[in-house]
């Protein structure tokens, strides 16, 4: 650009010759120059403003568009960052303590229909009814001819069934992928596992929800992708569980009992290695709840955890333990065992054991009178506190969803007569799992044990309930119950079993007790010198009809079954026999 001079020579000369002031020309030019300059700045500023505005509009427009896109589009997983859990996206497995599978998933298919696309509803319905026996051809035909656009026909079908439905060849019958929970061992440990059901169902997937047992108690853990499909390891030992169930079932049939339950617990950790309640069920095909009759007869009812019963004389151990712990008696103190009356209630024994017995013999011979006298020495308040500390007055913390329903029942008014009857196991109802943990606490050296079905990796040492010395003395006393007392059938060669029997009359609906129906319990532990396992066996209404008259006491019913369980499971637990067995073991002594 050519810059215009402020004092153009030609115009100055003209102005001078015309006698005008030439400075005016300069002023005029200067003004013009300043005006042009202003105009240029103004234009530049305007351009910048427009540009800024444009940038703002574009940036906010982009942000707005992105926000709209995010708001209206369907969410999707980032492809590049898929973890193992996102790939698998299934319920975690459940395994036993030796990594054997207890519950897993398999892929099957669900069957649904688009009735508007079904070509021949009559044939389709008839053929579906042939494949699935529970489908009614007439009803199915009506459904397929109905106005609905979508029908669920089956939530999970097998590959064979899928092929058969495929062979019908109707375009209106469709399949969706389904993950089905599978319990490969069938009925085994059914009560522990519980079972699952389908929750929210879509065509492409369905939620699997736990409905009972550990499946429900650990539903959050099993479904949470955070844990990357890490399996849930239970404390159950599959082989032991299987052997125990087999023996218990045989024992239940042999003793003509209507039901049975058993709990095998590790005494130091409270880990439950096997838990069985008969009758049981198959979690793959969970039956419906009983709607009529006694709910306690329902196969779904877990007697070992939910069932609270008056367990009888097995409670005497606690009275003796507490009396010894308080220093009121020693094992050799003589106790008056003459029958007596408390108000209108007679306190008597199964048979007369003479005027006096040592504390040890009170336990060995199972004297109600002797235990009642001990409880009078202890006092009601003390007894209640002791039983509470043993965990016998609250539901067990076992990790089964049924756990909290097994709430012990005891009188709200802990009167003197209650104190006496509770000392020999009447007037208080607890579950076999309660009893197992209380016995573990008593014999493991005296520290509190809480029952668990999850494998423990670190040792758990609970608070001290009784002293080591009392615990050791009680082991010997309970061993004598087997060697010389009521549980003589409990002897298992090589495993020095110790324990206590309990036979409780079953309460009837009239508020009294049945004369001929009992609940027989054997609370045992082995090996007696250094206990490792506690086993509780309970038989409901057993009757040994082998003799002249039916025998119902635990010594004749629950004890032989318990002994057989120990004989079978102790070798499986890796326990070597303590004393030399007489049987031929196929080995010859080395000699030169």
């Amino acid at each position: 650009m050519i810059r215009k001079p402020l004092r153009p020579l030609a115009r100055i000369f003209f102005a001078r010759s015309a006698g005008e002031n030439p400075d005016l020309i300069e002023y005029a030019n200067r003004r013009e120059r300043i005006e042009m300059q202003h105009e240029r700045i103004l234009r530049k500023t305007q351009r910048r403003l427009i540009m800024m505005g444009g940038i703002f509009i574009i940036s906010f427009g982009v942000i707005g568009m992105r926000m709209t896109a995010l708001a209206v589009s369907a969410p999707s997983e980032p492809k590049a960052r898929a973890t193992a859990a996102q790939i698998l996206a299934s319920r975690a497995d459940i395994i036993d303590r030796n990594n054997r599978v207890l519950a897993t998933n398999i892929e099957t298919h669900s069957l649904y229909a688009h009735p508007q696309h079904v070509v021949n509803p009559v044939t389709a319905a008839r053929q579906l009814a042939e494949i699935f026996p529970d489908i009614d051809a007439v009803k199915m035909e009506a459904r397929l001819k109905g106005a609905r656009k979508f029908l669920w026909l089956k939530s999970a079908i097998s590959p064979e069934e899928k092929q058969a439905v495929h062979d019908i060849g109707d375009p209106g019958l469709l399949f969706g992928p389904r993950e089905m929970r599978l319990y490969p061992n069938g009925q085994l440990a059914g009560h522990i596992l519980g079972g699952t059901t389908f929750g929210e169902q879509g065509v492409h997937s369905a939620e699997t929800l736990g409905i009972a047992g550990v499946e429900k108690a650990f539903d959050g853990f099993l479904r949470d992708p955070k844990f990357n499909g890490r399996p849930l390891q239970l404390s159950i030992d599959l082989s032991v569980q299987s052997a125990m169930e087999e023996v218990l079932y045989g024992g239940m049939r042999l003793m003509n009992a209507k039901a049975a339950s058993a709990v095998l617990m590790e005494v130091h950790t409270g880990e439950i290695l096997a838990l069985s309640s008969l009758p049981d069920f198959d979690p793959n095909n969970r039956p419906h709840m009983l709607t009529e009759g006694d709910q306690a007869d329902d196969p779904l009812f877990n007697r070992a955890v939910q069932g609270v019963y008056e367990l009888g004389s097995v409670f005497k151990t606690f009275a003796v333990a507490q009396a010894m712990e308080l220093g009121l008696v020693t094992a050799d103190t003589m106790i008056d065992t003459k029958r007596f009356r408390w108000g209108k209630y007679p306190i008597k024994d199964f048979k007369n054991y003479g005027p006096k017995l040592t504390v040890e013999n009170v336990l060995v011979k199972s004297s109600n009178v002797g235990t009642a006298r001990l409880s009078k020495m202890i006092g009601g308040e003390n007894q209640k506190t002791f039983l509470k500390n043993l965990g016998l007055l609250a539901a067990t913390p076992i990790e089964l969803v049924e756990g909290p329903t097994g709430k012990p029942q005891f009188p709200s008014n802990w009167s003197e007569i209650s104190t006496m009857t509770i000392s020999y196991g009447h007037g208080i109802s607890t579950s076999p799992v309660h009893l197992a943990s209380a016995y573990s606490t008593i014999v493991n050296g005296g520290t509190l044990v809480k029952p668990t079905v999850v494998k423990q990796t670190v040792p758990r040492i609970g608070e001290r309930i009784i002293s080591q010395k009392v615990s050791m003395r009680l082991r010997t006393m309970l061993r004598h119950v087997v060697t010389e007392g009521t549980a003589s059938f409990g002897e298992v060669p090589g495993y020095s079993v110790a324990g206590k029997t309990g036979t409780a009359d079953k309460p009837n609906n009239q508020g009294g007790y049945h004369k001929d129906k009992v609940l027989a319990t054997f609370a045992s532990f082995f090996p007696s010198a250094n206990p490792k396992y506690v086993l509780i066996v309970t038989l409901d209404e057993p009757e040994d009809r082998a003799g002249f008259e039916p025998r119902r006491t635990a010594g004749w019913t629950a004890v032989p079954v318990g002994a057989e369980v120990i004989r079978r499971v102790a070798p499986l637990l890796g326990l070597a026999p303590e004393i030399e067995t007489s049987g031929q073991n196929g080995l010859t002594l080395a000699s030169n």
């Binding site: 590049a80 790939i87 599978v101 398999i106 892929e107 069938g186 090589g494 026999p577 067995t581 080995l587």
Partner: protein
């Protein structure tokens, strides 16, 4: 100079655009590959699960017991009982392998009789 600079800038922008274009498609390809791999992993896992389930089903204690009973004559398997345990001292200690005697040494006189 200015033109050269502008020219360089244009070439750089074009080169970057080309690089961006190829990177975009490489990424998309990789993502597709990943999802295919994930799908394969998922399928492999489901196959593995079926195998594990089948193994667990075939090895369920009830079936093993039936098999043991059915094949008792051949296998003669018995339940593990307490007399199957033995103490360490009941097992004969293996004889040391001394090898053949190549150079016999006379330790007593043969012709000496009592």
């Amino acid at each position: 100079m200015k033109h050269l600079f502008l020219g360089c800038l244009v070439v750089t922008v074009m080169a970057l655009a080309f690089w961006g274009y190829t990177e975009n498609y490489t990424t998309k390809n990789t993502l597709d590959n990943i999802s295919k791999l994930n799908k394969d992993i998922g399928l492999a896992h489901s196959r593995l699960r079926v195998l594990r389930a089948e193994w667990a089903y075939l090895n369920r204690p009830g079936r093993l017991l039936q098999l043991v009973n059915a094949n008792f004559e051949d296998l003669k398997l018995l339940q593990l009982t307490s007399d199957h345990f033995a103490r360490l001292e009941q097992i004969p200690y293996p004889e040391p392998n001394l090898g053949p005697i190549t150079e016999p040494v006379e330790v007593m006189k043969r012709d000496t009789s009592p």
